[in-house]
C-alpha cells in the first residue's frame, strides 16, 4: 500500500481565487464567447410568446478557460449553447464567438461541439462517421486517418469501429460523439451534458480529457446538471435557472466554506490528534479547535474503477466499448509548450518576491494554476483513500497551514501522487495527468491539489520560519496544547 501523505489545505488560499479578483487581467484578450443581454423567446404559430428559454443573460468565456454552464433541466443551458452555435437566433441581445457572429462559417473551424444527445448517421460506422466530419473540416486524408485511429482508441471503440452506429449503445454513441467533436482539434470545445449515458470510467475519462484540453490552452464550455462533473473540471461557472443567471464565479469562490479547514494526513493515532488539537488551540488562543476527525472512506466510483481495472488486467473479453486508451496523441501535441508556460507561471508564482504579483498575474496564469491543482485533486482524493486521516478544524490560518506543508512533506506527497496504474486504478486520472507532466513541480502540484494553493502557502511558510519548528514539534509528538479538541 502506498503510504500517501496528503495535506489538504484550505483552498481559499489558492491562487484560483485570483480569477475572481482579476478577470481584467486578461490583458485585453478578447473573450471566446461574449453574451450580452442574450434572450431567446420561442413563439407559437401565431407569433405569440410561448416560452422564454434564455432571459437577458450576460457572461463571457475567456480564452484557456473551462467554463461551466449549470442548471436544472429546462434552465436554458442547451438553448444558450445553440445560440452560441448559431443553431438558434437570439430574440434580443447579442452573442459573439471569437468576436464574430455565430453564423460565421470561419469560426466553426475552431469549434468542436457535442450535443446533449449523440445525433449520428445510423447507417455509418464509427470510422465513416469520423471520416465524414473530418472531411467537413477539409482535413487531408493522412491527418484524418491518424486522428480517427487515435480518437477511436481514445474512446475505446476499437472493437466496434466497423459496426453501424445504430447498433451502438447509448454510451458508445456518446463516445463516438465525443470523438467527432474533437476531430478538428478545436480551440473551443462545447460539451452539452457530455457524461450522459457514460459509465463511470467513461465519465472519468471525459473529465480527464476536459482537464487535459484545458492544460493545452483550449477553451471548454461544459454544460451539465451533474454537479460533480462540473466541480471536478471547471474554472468558472454560471448557474442558470429559468433562463437567468443566478450565480457566477469560480468553483472555489462558490463552494468553499470559509470558516472551516480540512487537513488530510496518514492515519493518526489518538495522541497525535490530541496534540494537533492542542497546537491549534495554543496558536489561536483557544478560539479554534478540531471539530471533526474522520477516516475517509473509498467512494463507490473508486471501487467501481478498481473492479473494472482488475477485469481489464485479466483481459476479460467485451464486444462493447472498452475503457479507452490515452488521450489522442494529436490532442496532446504542443503539450510541452503548454507545460513550459505553466512552469514559467509557477516559477513566477512561487517566487517569494512575486507571491502577491502572481495572484494578479492575469487570467492565463490563474487558470493554469487552478487547473493544474484540480488535476491533482482527483489523484489526491484517490491516494487519500488508501489510508489517510481527515481532520477538520474551525477557521483557517494560512501561516499555520503553510507551516504544516513544509518542503519535506510536499516531496512525500509528490511521491504518492504518481501511483502505477496496476496498483492504483482509482488514480487513473492522476495517471493521465502525470503522464503528460514531466516536471517535478508539476508532479507536486498534481499530487497536492489544495497544495497548489499551497504554492502561495509555501511562500508564506518561507516567510514564517517558526512554523517549521511547530511542524517538527507536531511530528515528534511534542506539544504544549492545553486540551483535546472536539472529535466526531
Amino acid at each position: 500500500m502506498t503510504r500517501a501523505s496528503t495535506l489538504s489545505a484550505n483552498p481559499s488560499a489558492s491562487p484560483a481565487s485570483t480569477i475572481q479578483g482579476g478577470p481584467s487581467g486578461a490583458g485585453g484578450r478578447s473573450p471566446v464567447v461574449a453574451c450580452q443581454r442574450l434572450t431567446k423567446t420561442f413563439k407559437d404559430f401565431w407569433m405569440r410568446d410561448r416560452a422564454r428559454a434564455v432571459d437577458g443573460v450576460d457572461f463571457e468565456i475567456r480564452p484557456r478557460e473551462i467554463f461551466g454552464l449549470l442548471g436544472p433541466n429546462g434552465s436554458g443551458k442547451s438553448t444558450t449553447i445553440k445560440l452560441i452555435l448559431g443553431l438558434l437566433k437570439p430574440s434580443k441581445g447579442r452573442v459573439a464567438v471569437f468576436g464574430k457572429s455565430p453564423t460565421d462559417v470561419a469560426i466553426k473551424k475552431r469549434i468542436g461541439y457535442l450535443p446533449e444527445e449523440s445525433y449520428l448517421y445510423p447507417f455509418l460506422n464509427a470510422r465513416e462517421t469520423l471520416d465524414y466530419y473530418g472531411k467537413l473540416f477539409e482535413l487531408d486524408h493522412r491527418t484524418r486517418a491518424r486522428r480517427i485511429d487515435e480518437l477511436i482508441e481514445m474512446v475505446g471503440l476499437g472493437n466496434a469501429q466497423f459496426r453501424p452506429v445504430r447498433e451502438y449503445s447509448k454510451g458508445m454513441q456518446r463516445r463516438i460523439g465525443i470523438a467527432q467533436a474533437l476531430i478538428n482539434d478545436p480551440d473551443f470545445l462545447i460539451l452539452d451534458e457530455p457524461t450522459t449515458g457514460l459509465d463511470p470510467i467513461g465519465t472519468r475519462q471525459i473529465k480527464d480529457l476536459i482537464i487535459q484540453l484545458g492544460r493545452r490552452g483550449k477553451t471548454v464550455l461544459l454544460s451539465s446538471h451533474l454537479l460533480a462533473d462540473v466541480e471536478d473540471c471547471v474554472d468558472r461557472m454560471v448557474i442558470l435557472y429559468g433562463g437567468k443567471i443566478r450565480a457566477e464565479g469560480t468553483c472555489d469562490s462558490l463552494l468553499t466554506t470559509q470558516d472551516r479547514t480540512t487537513l488530510e494526513t496518514d492515519a493518526l493515532d489518538e495522541q497525535t490528534i490530541e496534540e494537533l488539537d492542542r497546537v491549534i488551540r495554543t496558536r489561536t488562543g483557544g478560539e479554534r479547535s478540531l471539530i471533526r476527525v474522520t477516516k475517509p472512506r473509498q467512494s463507490l466510483e473508486s471501487l467501481f474503477l478498481d473492479i473494472v481495472e482488475r477485469a481489464r488486467s485479466e483481459q476479460a473479453k467485451t464486444s462493447g466499448a472498452t475503457s479507452g486508451g490515452e488521450v489522442a496523441a494529436f490532442l496532446k501535441e504542443q503539450e510541452q509548450g503548454a507545460e513550459l508556460i505553466d512552469k514559467l507561471m509557477r516559477s513566477s508564482a512561487s517566487s517569494p518576491d512575486d507571491s502577491e504579483a502572481s495572484a494578479d498575474s492575469g487570467e492565463a496564469s490563474a487558470v493554469a494554476e487552478n487547473r493544474t491543482g484540480r488535476t491533482g485533486g482527483s489523484a489526491g482524493t484517490a491516494a487519500g483513500a488508501t489510508g489517510t486521516g481527515k481532520v477538520t478544524s474551525a477557521g483557517h490560518d494560512d501561516a499555520l497551514i503553510g507551516s504544516l506543508i513544509s518542503g519535506r512533506r510536499v516531496d512525500e506527497t509528490a511521491g504518492a501522487a504518481a501511483p502505477t496504474p496496476s496498483t492504483a486504478p482509482a488514480a487513473a486520472p492522476a495517471r493521465s495527468a502525470t503522464n503528460t507532466s514531466n516536471t517535478p513541480a508539476s508532479a507536486n502540484l498534481n499530487a497536492a491539489p489544495r497544495a497548489t494553493g499551497a504554492s502561495g502557502g509555501a511562500a508564506s511558510s518561507q516567510d514564517a520560519p517558526p512554523d517549521d519548528a511547530l511542524i517538527n514539534q507536531l511530528l515528534s509528538g511534542r506539544g504544549d496544547a492545553d486540551g483535546p479538541g472536539r472529535r466526531e
Binding site: 443553431l87 455509418l124 465524414y132 472531411k135
Partner: protein
C-alpha cells in the same frame, strides 16, 4: 491454408498494382480478340445464312423484287407494294426511266446489310463492357467479380438445363445489373472521396441511398424490372416491335422509378437530418448552407447518373443483342434464303434503330377577310338562335378559335371518294443528299371500326400514285424515294379516300381524319446510338432538376409535405404539355358567356404551372427514341439551359431559406 486465409490472400492480391496492371492488359486483349473474332465471323460468307446457295445480301438484289408480297401484316403489305423491297416501286421507277430511285433503294438495302459488318455498334458494346471491367479491376475487385460471374453462371446453368430459361436469364440479368451498379457506385464514391464539405455530404448521400431501406427498395425494384423486361417480349412478334417495346418500356420504366427514387431520397436526406437533429453536428462544422445544399444535390444527382448509366448500358446492350437476333422472315440474323432484306429488318434498321427528323404538313393559308366575314356571320347566327348569347370579345375569341380548329379539322379530313393535297416544306437538303424519306400516317374515323380496312391512294407530285391499306388508329410507314421532292424542297402529296387504281374507284364507307400528329414525313439525320446518348442525357437533366426540387422543398417542409409538393411538381411538369393543350380548349365562361370565377382561377393557375414547366414538358425523349425520331442537340441544349436556370433559381431560394432557418427548431416529428 484455410478457405478464409486463401480468400483473404486473394483479396489482398487483387488490390496490388501489379495485379491491376496485369488484369487490365488481359481485359484489353480479351476485348480486342473478341472484336477481331467478331469481324472475322461477320465477314465470312460461309457464316451468312448457313444454307447452301445463300447469297450475300450485299451483292444480291432485293430479295422480293418482282415477287408478290408476303401477307405478314398490313404494314408489310404496304411496304411490299410501295417500298424498295417490292417490285412496284421499281416498276414505277422503270416506267418513268428514273434510275436514281432504284439506285437510292439499292443503296438503302446495301446499308442495312452492311450494318451487320459494321463493327461500330459491337465496338461500342465491347467498350462499355471493357470500361466496366477495367473499373472493377482498378477498384481492386477483379477476382471478387470474377467469382460473382462464376457463381451466377453456376446458378443459371442448371436452371437452363432444367428448361427454366427465363429464370436463368433473369438471374444473369440481375447479377449483371447489380454488379454494374456496385461498380459505378464504388467509382463515384472514389470520385467523391476527397475532403471538402460538398464531396463529403454528397458521398454521405450515396451511403444513405444504399443503406437505407427507402431507396434500396427502389434500386432493387429497378434492377429486377429491367432484368425481367426482356422476358416479357413475345419472340413471335416482329423484331422491330420487340425492340420498340423494349426501348419504350425499358427507358420509360427506368426513368419513372429513378425519378421517384430521386424525389424521395432528396427529400428524405434533408428532412430526416433535420428531424433526427443530425444536421446540428454538420451545420456546426465549417459548412455554409450553399455547400450543404449543393452537396445533397450532387449526391442525389450522382446516384441518378449511376442508375441511369446502369439502366442505359443495359438497355443499349440488350437492344444490340436483339438487333443481332433474326428478324421475322430471316433464317439467321440479316440473312434470308432468298437473299436480300426482310420487311421487318428494313423497318427496324430504317425506322426504329435510327434517328429521323420529322416534318409536318403546312396548314392551309386562311383568307382572313373571308374568315372574318364567316366569324361575323356565325355570331349573327348565334344571336338569332340563342337570345342569351352576348357579342363579347370573349365569345368572339372563342368562336374564332372554334372556327379555326374546325377549318384545320376539315383540312385534315377527307370524305369518301374525295382527296386533299398536303404540302411538306423544307426538304431541300434531303433531296440533295439523295436520302429516302418516310411517310408516316395514322387515320381516324367516326365509325370506330377497328377491323375495318381502309384503302387509300397516295399520289406524290410528279410520281405515280400508289395504293395503301390501313386500319384505324395505327401508325403506318411508307418509304419514298427523294425524287418526290421538287427542286424547292417541297413535297406535294395528294391523298385519296379511295383506291383509284380500280375502275370505278373503290371508296371507303366513312370520312377519314388525320390527327394533328397523324401525317408527317421523316428522314434519317443521325445514328441510333447518338440519339440514345442524347436521350439518356436529357433524362438525367430532368432527374437533376427533380433532385433540386426535392432538396429545395425540404429546406422548409417536413418529409410528408415536401414529398407531396415535390411529387406534385413532378407530375405537373410531366403533364405540362397535355395541360397546355387542354387549356386551349378550356373556357372560363359559362354557356351564356358569363365569366366563372372558379374557372378563371383554375385556368390562371394551370396556365402559370404549365408555362413554368413548359420546357420540361416538351422534353419527351422516350417516345422519340422508340419512334426512331431525332432528339436534336438544340432541344437538349434548350432543355439543359431552361432546367439549369430553373434549378439555379430553386437553389438560390433554398440557400436563402436555409440561411434564415433556426435548425434547432423543427416541427417534422
Amino acid at each position: 491454408m484455410g478457405f478464409s486465409a486463401f480468400f483473404s490472400k486473394l483479396g489482398r492480391w487483387q488490390r496490388t498494382t501489379p495485379f491491376k496492371i496485369g488484369a487490365s492488359i488481359a481485359v484489353v486483349i480479351a476485348a480486342a480478340v473478341a472484336l477481331w473474332v467478331y469481324l472475322v465471323a461477320a465477314n465470312n460468307p460461309a457464316d451468312q445464312g448457313g444454307a447452301p446457295g445463300a447469297a450475300s445480301a450485299t451483292t444480291a438484289p432485293p430479295a422480293a423484287e418482282g415477287e408478290p408480297s408476303r401477307p405478314e401484316d398490313v404494314s408489310e403489305r404496304q411496304l411490299s407494294e410501295q417500298t424498295a423491297q417490292t417490285g412496284k416501286l421499281e416498276r414505277d421507277t422503270q416506267v418513268e426511266g428514273d434510275r436514281s430511285a432504284l439506285d437510292s433503294t439499292q443503296r438503302i438495302l446495301g446499308e442495312i446489310v452492311q450494318a451487320r459488318q459494321d463493327p461500330t455498334n459491337v465496338a461500342i458494346s465491347l467498350a462499355i463492357v471493357t470500361g466496366l471491367a477495367l473499373t472493377v479491376v482498378w477498384l481492386g475487385l477483379a477476382l471478387t467479380y470474377l467469382g460473382l460471374v462464376v457463381v451466377a453462371g453456376l446458378l443459371a446453368w442448371p436452371l437452363s438445363i432444367l428448361g427454366l430459361t427465363n429464370a436463368a436469364h433473369l438471374t444473369l440479368g440481375v447479377v449483371a445489373l447489380t454488379a454494374a451498379f456496385a461498380t459505378l457506385m464504388q467509382a463515384l464514391r472514389l470520385a467523391l472521396s476527397g475532403s471538402g464539405a460538398v464531396r463529403a455530404i454528397a458521398r454521405n448521400v450515396l451511403a444513405e441511398a444504399v443503406r437505407l431501406k427507402l431507396s434500396l427498395v427502389f434500386i432493387v425494384l429497378l434492377v429486377l424490372l429491367l432484368a425481367a423486361l426482356p422476358l416479357q417480349l413475345d419472340p413471335a412478334s416482329p423484331l422491330r416491335y420487340r425492340v420498340q417495346s423494349f426501348l419504350q418500356y425499358g427507358t420509360g420504366i427506368s426513368f419513372w422509378i429513378i425519378a421517384l427514387l430521386v424525389v424521395l431520397l432528396s427529400v428524405a436526406s434533408v428532412t430526416y437530418e433535420q428531424r433526427d437533429r443530425v444536421i446540428w453536428q454538420t451545420m456546426t462544422k465549417p459548412v455554409p448552407p450553399w455547400k450543404y445544399i449543393l452537396g445533397k444535390w450532387v449526391g442525389v444527382a450522382g446516384l441518378a447518373a449511376v442508375l441511369l448509366a446502369v439502366c442505359g448500358s443495359g438497355i443499349f446492350l440488350f437492344t444490340e443483342y436483339l438487333r443481332s437476333q433474326p428478324a421475322k422472315g430471316e433464317d439467321s440474323p440479316y440473312v434470308t434464303m432468298r437473299g436480300g432484306v426482310t420487311h421487318d429488318r428494313y423497318l427496324l434498321e430504317k425506322q426504329v434503330l435510327t434517328s429521323r427528323e420529322s416534318v409536318a404538313f403546312q396548314p392551309p393559308q386562311i383568307d382572313m377577310e373571308q374568315f372574318n366575314k364567316s366569324v361575323l356571320a356565325r355570331i349573327e347566327n348565334e344571336i338569332k338562335s340563342n337570345p342569351d348569347f352576348k357579342d363579347t370579345n370573349e365569345n368572339k375569341a372563342r368562336l374564332e378559335r372554334e372556327m379555326r380548329d374546325a377549318a384545320l379539322l376539315g383540312y385534315r379530313s377527307i370524305e369518301p371518294g374525295q382527296f386533299e393535297t398536303y404540302v411538306f416544306r423544307g426538304l431541300k437538303k434531303v433531296k440533295e443528299a439523295g436520302e429516302p424519306i418516310t411517310l408516316r400516317f395514322k387515320i381516324n374515323s367516326g365509325a370506330n371500326a377497328p377491323d375495318q380496312i381502309y384503302k387509300l391512294t397516295f399520289w406524290p407530285s410528279a410520281r405515280a400514285p400508289f395504293r395503301q391499306e390501313s386500319v384505324l388508329g395505327q401508325m403506318q410507314s411508307i418509304e419514298l424515294v427523294p425524287d418526290v421532292i421538287d427542286a424547292d424542297g417541297n413535297l406535294y402529296l395528294r391523298v385519296y379516300n379511295a383506291d383509284i387504281s380500280t375502275d370505278p374507284p373503290s371508296t371507303n364507307p366513312d370520312t377519314i381524319t388525320f390527327p394533328p400528329d397523324g401525317l408527317e414525313v421523316s428522314y434519317p439525320v443521325s445514328s441510333f446510338r447518338w440519339n440514345f446518348l442524347r436521350v439518356v442525357g436529357v433524362l438525367w437533366i430532368k432527374l437533376a432538376f427533380l433532385a433540386m426540387v426535392g432538396v429545395a422543398t425540404s429546406t422548409f417542409l417536413s418529409f410528408p409535405v415536401a414529398c407531396l409538393v415535390s411529387l406534385g411538381i413532378f407530375f405537373m411538369a410531366e403533364s405540362s404539355s397535355f395541360l397546355l393543350s387542354s387549356l386551349e380548349n378550356y373556357s372560363t365562361t359559362d354557356y351564356d358567356g358569363n365569366p366563372v370565377l372558379m374557372k378563371i382561377i383554375v385556368a390562371n393557375i394551370s396556365q402559370v404551372v404549365a408555362q413554368a414547366f413548359r420546357i420540361y414538358g416538351e422534353l419527351r425523349p422516350v417516345g422519340r427514341l422508340a419512334d426512331g425520331l431525332l432528339l436534336p442537340w438544340s432541344a437538349v441544349a434548350t432543355g439543359l439551359a431552361g432546367l439549369a436556370v430553373m434549378s439555379g433559381v430553386l437553389y438560390a431560394a433554398a440557400v436563402a431559406i436555409f440561411r434564415r432557418r433556426e435548425l434547432a427548431i423543427y416541427s417534422g416529428h
